[in-house]
Symmetry: C2
DNA sequence: CGTTTCTTCAACCATCTGGTTGAAGAAGGG
DNA sequence: CCCTTCTTCAACCAGATGGTTGAAGAAACG
């Protein structure tokens, strides 16, 4: 279902353990074992989480002997913030226009109908 | 599993249909039937999607006769953008520091060790 | 070479999820 | 009052997901 990039990204960050992993990778690169240590789940489970993060483009991995250091890729964050900000702005702009219309209507009402209060805004 | 607010939010936006619903609600409020019309799924499925969005705090609903107009709540977007921006900045700051360290190390190496190239840049 | 460490693959399991159909609330309209 | 409209509830189903255990790759170490 989540076949497009944005779905993968949001889905990857929908898990608290994965968000925590991202938070720790923001501090510095780390291996699978290091990342798995704080949690009470198996290292295999963490390995799966890392694969999800990697597929989403949030994490890249290099090789260092047997270890696979994980590195946080920050560029993909833009995809999400751009999406969020777009619709947030769109909705908020609409609100402002709606408010303006309501304000004008109210002013016209007070002009033609009863003049209960001063028209100063 | 996704019991905290952030998990609910990311999870809600991980579905392309739900993101599309959010995009359309950014243009204006709409009823369940109106929202369901463009998709080839049943209206019940869309009703479920709206419940997910509502539980995540992204959508609020009022009552208008039999209709339940859906309204986009934009404030909760901040929760996500704050989280994303925090760790993005954290990681990028770390990169800048790392780059500075590497640059200094490189300069010291060229000063003490072999002087193969000019130390400019 | 055998062993130890780090990591992943494979199979399995419980639960969640997104979809369906069918029936039932909720509220107006004839 | 019935009937139609809008919406949700309930039960069900296929597939994804997050977890487990056990075994197997990959690469250093003795």
């Amino acid at each position: 279902m989540g076949d497009d990039r944005l779905s993968q990204l949001f889905s990857a960050l929908a898990d608290p353990t994965r968000r925590d992993i991202v938070a720790r990778l923001a501090v510095g690169d780390a291996t699978v074992n290091e990342l798995a240590e704080p949690y009470d789940v198996t290292v295999q489970a963490v390995s799966k989480h890392l694969r999800v993060l990697e597929d989403a483009g949030l994490v890249s991995r290099t090789r260092d002997a047997q270890r696979r250091p994980c590195h946080l890729e920050t560029e993909v964050f833009d995809l999400m913030t751009k999406w969020i900000e777009r619709y947030r702005r769109e909705a908020e702009d609409r609100f402002r226009r709606l408010d303006a219309v309501l304000e004008r209507m109210e002013k016209e009402t007070t002009e033609t109908g009863n003049r209960t209060e001063g028209a100063a805004s």
